[in-house]
Each structure stands twice: as C-alpha cells, then as structure tokens.
Assembly symmetry: C2
C-alpha cells in the first residue's frame, strides 16, 4: 500500500464558507475516484508548520496511484479548485516499513 498525503493552506480565511466548500468538494470528488481507499481529511494542528489542512488516501499499488493522478476528476479538481484556492502545500507518499 502507498499512503498519499498532502498538507496545505488555503487562500480563504479560517472558518469561512469558501474554506468549508473547498474541503467538502475535495472529500467528495477525490474520495470517489476509483482506487482511492481510506480517504481522510484532517486539521493540521501543530505549531511547527503553517499548513492547516491535510488529505490522506491509500492506494493498493503504484499503478492505482498513477491512474488516480491521471483520472479526469482529479485533473479537473486540480485545475478548477486546487490551483486557484491553495496558497501552499507539501506532499509526502509513505510506504510502511514493517
């Protein structure tokens, strides 16, 4: 399994309707893409990063992750919502060492 994670900060004020709309859209759109497992939205509450939100999802393998990246719903979300509304972000992809 590969856990794809991204922490981000929005251009919208904290607690705004625009923020809530972005988060709901992200969850709705991304969690529905084939191959996405265990989608989670979290608040990044640590003081050592300016990033405030976090998406996490699991993929069975690299091919499933690649298909997600190329899926039209993902590409449309990135273009229509992510690029205009995300101020900064950082991605980590994790493979657990058992």
């Amino acid at each position: 399994m590969i856990q794809h994670t991204v922490a981000f900060r929005l251009i919208h004020p904290r607690g705004s309707e625009a923020e809530a709309d972005f988060l709901a859209a992200g969850r709705r759109v991304l969690a529905s893409i084939p191959g996405v497992e265990d989608f989670a939205l979290s608040e990044q509450v640590g003081k050592k990063s300016p990033l405030t939100w976090h998406f996490s999802m699991l993929f069975a393998d690299e091919a499933t992750y690649a298909a997600y990246n190329d899926h039209p719903d993902h590409l449309h979300f990135v273009e229509s919502r992510w690029l205009p509304e995300v101020a900064e972000f950082q991605e980590w992809d994790l493979v657990e060492v058992l």
Copy 2:
C-alpha cells in the same frame, strides 16, 4: 486522537548500517514510551520532498502527547540521536475531521 507525524532525512547514506541503527533505535525507544499508540515507520517515496523517512504515532489527547514530549526517554533520544543524526525534518500533527 492526535496523530503526530515527522518526516526526516538523515545525515547517513541510504542503505548504511548507521541509517538502519537509527531507524531501529527510533522505533524501539519511541514506540515504548507510555501513551504512544500505533507507532509506524515509513519510507517517504514521493519525489516532491527531500525527506526520506517518516515516524507516525497516535496519542489519545493533548495531555498524553505532552507527557510523551517531556518523557526522559524522548528527551534522551532527541539529544543523543535525533539532533546529531537528522539533517532536516518537518512535523505535522493531525486531528481527523469526521
């Protein structure tokens, strides 16, 4: 629950004995501290970050997390291993939005 995560890059070469020793020590010491749940070591395989390893652990609440931070075994690990052997790192603390 609070998920404490830290991604990091070591001063040691990839695949070295020193790297393996650090990772084993981190898992052994940190996972044994009271209050730490679901400790996980992962490789950060994404190309969009220079950080190569990742520790994750869960705490029941802020007080348990604070007790971990102040625990002598944690403080000793930070001083004796983390500070001298970690080249760079970033921490995220996550609270899932259900």
